[in-house]
Symmetry: C2
Subunit: 461 residues, 2 copies
């Protein structure tokens, strides 16, 4: 193992070149105009995996393709499944990027540390390459693998992940992994490694309210004609009560209480309101008044407006009352909240809310339950220790506000647990302009996976 | 006069050709990309005016130019000033237009009447050409004009009209008109001609709420971080109370009561809620519950959201909490409401509303008082009778929800009254896709102005 770690240190700049090649492909899955770029990223990954003794193939779906690969050599260890995604978020607002989002570069930060900038550097191309570069280094150094590895890389994680569940179901018989690893999460702090054990689910809904049968002159009709922007605003305002609680009927059904011990532990590792909010320029926690900021993001359900649009949005002014207005609204789910029931109750809430002479259209965007991963067991211990060996800090067990629906899918299809190990940082600006990934995360991330893979060698399954 | 009217009937298709030439110029004043098109429209009008014995010039402003023209021949009648605007509204949403907005065409409606379609056909190019074609026909038939005429055509009416007041002030000494005519309003019904005697003022404000210092992942920060779309929605919802009244302090200061006689008269000419709302696909009046729809648009102040924008608005879904969200909000003013005081009170209202760790930016878009035009006098009577002669229905005195700030400017600079005579119809879709102008409005509008100009000949000033 030491030889592998040395190889990684020595060959880091080559690994970076490979990451940059992948980052240059604008694989934005939400925008149909980038469908060919998604395919290009998939083909790049297939070729790359084949270069270190994986058999890899492009698996077609009705949407973007999935890359599946397996180690060719026999080995006695457990069979682990690694999941990641090669697609990235859209890049607007483009004018807030310092350099073009798909022209990655390295720049020193104020602490003198090297940082990789570019869309996907952290979410998730940089993270998946920590695992794949670890596999590559192991193979290039030793000519074999310590465990059997299956890699599944999807291209729709950032746009609903619609076709992954069917694909996994189709692999149910032939693929029998013992456990899964996912690299799409954060460290607890830039020094403290983390295993993420609580993940929120997600329900997305696009709501369009229609009022008049055409755009109106606001002088000729203002006051008297329904304004769908006004109605939409009132609807959004009514989604939370004075205590910040979501007002949709039965919304909190299935939401578990947070154990006091866990609440206190999070304060211990410095997750105060100020620590979470001051880096983003805010002071007070929004949302539910009864909960701290970290509790609200890790283990409380949310209701967020992700986009709103209506009327004239160009330069200058246009005195129009638009015929329609729309919003993209998402709910993060915890515990046993039922995404389909929440969608149904939300839609009924909206229908009851709007005036009778208006109408509403809904477009669903994903529906996934929250995932719980067990907080003990031999695998968790081995992974935890391997991370501690690399980072020299005790590994923290944390939650995450982001949805990783595949955890539930893997549980359902293969009956296996997922371990979420990631090296991103909270300031990586994922989904935002100037996304970055610390070079330290990339380098020590690769090293961490080598330690984890060797530690898993003698797990009994 | 009869010879002139005959000439108009005979030469209508040539007049239409000229209107179509003007309609083909996309003079959208709100969009800086169309600045050259605005100039092109101004030059077209200058050349056109010169073709029937007006001396015309392009007057530069810091924005779009103003066209000013005067009759060259001497005459004994009063000096009338005609105001119109050659700029048009933006055209989005473009996909709702049946044909491209700047490719005008004529099509029969369900009643078998010819209708002119195209951006600006009604507001205001078609309307200004009713007056100018009347002048042209009089000159081409008689070689002279019955009154002295000054024409002022601006290019910023649809985008705030910022530079017109300074221009008018600069003409104060040299230009001494006795009265003004404006053709930018509707008929009372498709058969009943109207003089518009109540015009609302306008205050426009663009509000941008800033929360976090960058776009955030809604999974990682959802609930805990301020969402500016949520705040903006709550702000908009709070702008009206349960009775539909605007909640900004002192908003209704200076709003006059509506005389009962006028309220009843409007019902007489069929201005019911249903008559106003059913053509646009609505049933109930929005806004203030204490007032009928027509009262709300003609003589009550309004608060409308003309546009809203924030977060991800493209196809698909993006789980983002944006750093900012903005809305374009306008207030229509009546009576003695003070636009600057309302702007100030609105801004204070917003500042008091938003959380302390957020900030707000304002961009002003115009501020004009409401205008009142007297409801009696010899000129009003002559115009009223001239319209009746053409349309064979008693002329109605009505209000209008649209702002025509120039009325106040002309009162202030020249001390003259404006008479608002227009031939548009409520279903002309001004500011909307598929804007139209009935050919009947164009034809009989030209004839109406001939009658009015001849009737004004012997007004004593």
């Amino acid at each position: 193992m030491e030889a592998v770690l040395k190889y990684i240190d020595h060959e880091l700049s080559d690994a970076l070149d490979r990451l940059f090649e992948l980052l240059r492909i604008p694989s934005i899955s939400a925008n149909p105009a980038h469908a060919q770029d998604c395919r290009k990223a998939a083909i790049w990954l297939k070729d790359y995996l084949e270069s270190f003794n994986f058999s890899a193939k492009i698996c077609e779906t009705p949407g973007h393709p999935i890359v599946m690969a397996q180690t060719l050599s026999e080995c006695s260890g457990p069979h682990i499944l690694f999941y990641g995604h090669y697609d990235v978020q859209p890049v607007d607002p483009l004018d807030l990027w310092t350099k073009p989002p798909f022209e990655p570069y390295i720049k020193q930060n104020e602490q003198g540390e090297d940082v990789i900038f570019g869309r996907g550097s952290s979410d998730d191309k940089g993270q998946i390459l920590t695992f794949l570069e670890a596999c590559r280094a192991i193979y290039k150094t030793t000519g074999q693998f310590p465990v059997k590895i299956t890699v599944i890389l999807e291209g729709e994680e950032e746009s609903g992940g619609e076709h992954l569940p069917d694909f996994l179901a189709s692999q149910k018989e032939s693929l029998r992994p013992d456990m899964a690893f996912i690299c799409d999460t954060d460290m607890a702090t830039p020094d403290v490694p983390a295993i993420t054990a609580m993940l929120r689910g997600l329900v997305g809904e696009e709501v369009t309210i229609h009022a008049a049968n055409r755009d109106l002159h606001s002088g000729l009709y203002g006051n008297a004609a329904r304004n769908p922007i006004q109605i939409l605003s009132e609807l959004i305002a009514s989604l939370r009560d004075g205590q910040g609680r979501v007002t949709i009927p039965d919304f909190y059904e299935g939401v578990p209480d947070i154990p006091e011990a866990i609440r206190l532990k999070w304060q211990d590792i410095g997750k105060t309101n100020d620590a979470l909010l001051s880096p983003i320029g805010l002071k007070e926690a929004a949302g539910e008044k009864a909960f701290k900021a970290i509790e609200q993001t890790w283990c409380r359900p949310s209701c967020e407006i992700n986009g709103i649009s209506g009327g004239y949005e160009g330069p200058g002014f246009k005195t129009v009352i638009p015929a329609k207005a729309s919003a993209k609204i998402s709910f993060r789910l915890v515990g046993n909240q039922d995404p389909l029931k929440i969608r149904k109750n939300f839609r009924q809430f909206v229908k009851d809310f709007i005036p009778k002479d208006c109408s509403v259209e809904f477009e669903p965007h994903g529906a996934s339950r929250a995932s719980m991963v067990s907080l003990e067991g031999p695998v968790l211990e081995k992974v935890s220790n391997a991370l501690k060996d690399e980072w020299q800090y005790e590994t923290a067990i944390v939650g995450s506000g982001g949805a990783i629906p595949v955890v539930g899918d893997l549980q359902r299809e293969f009956g296996i647990e997922s371990f979420l190990v990631g090296f991103a940082n909270v300031d990586d600006c994922i989904h935002s302009p100037n996304e970055k990934y610390n070079l330290r995360s990339f380098h020590k991330g690769i090293r961490s996976w080598v330690r984890i893979l060797y530690a898993l060698r003698d797990v009994n399954t």
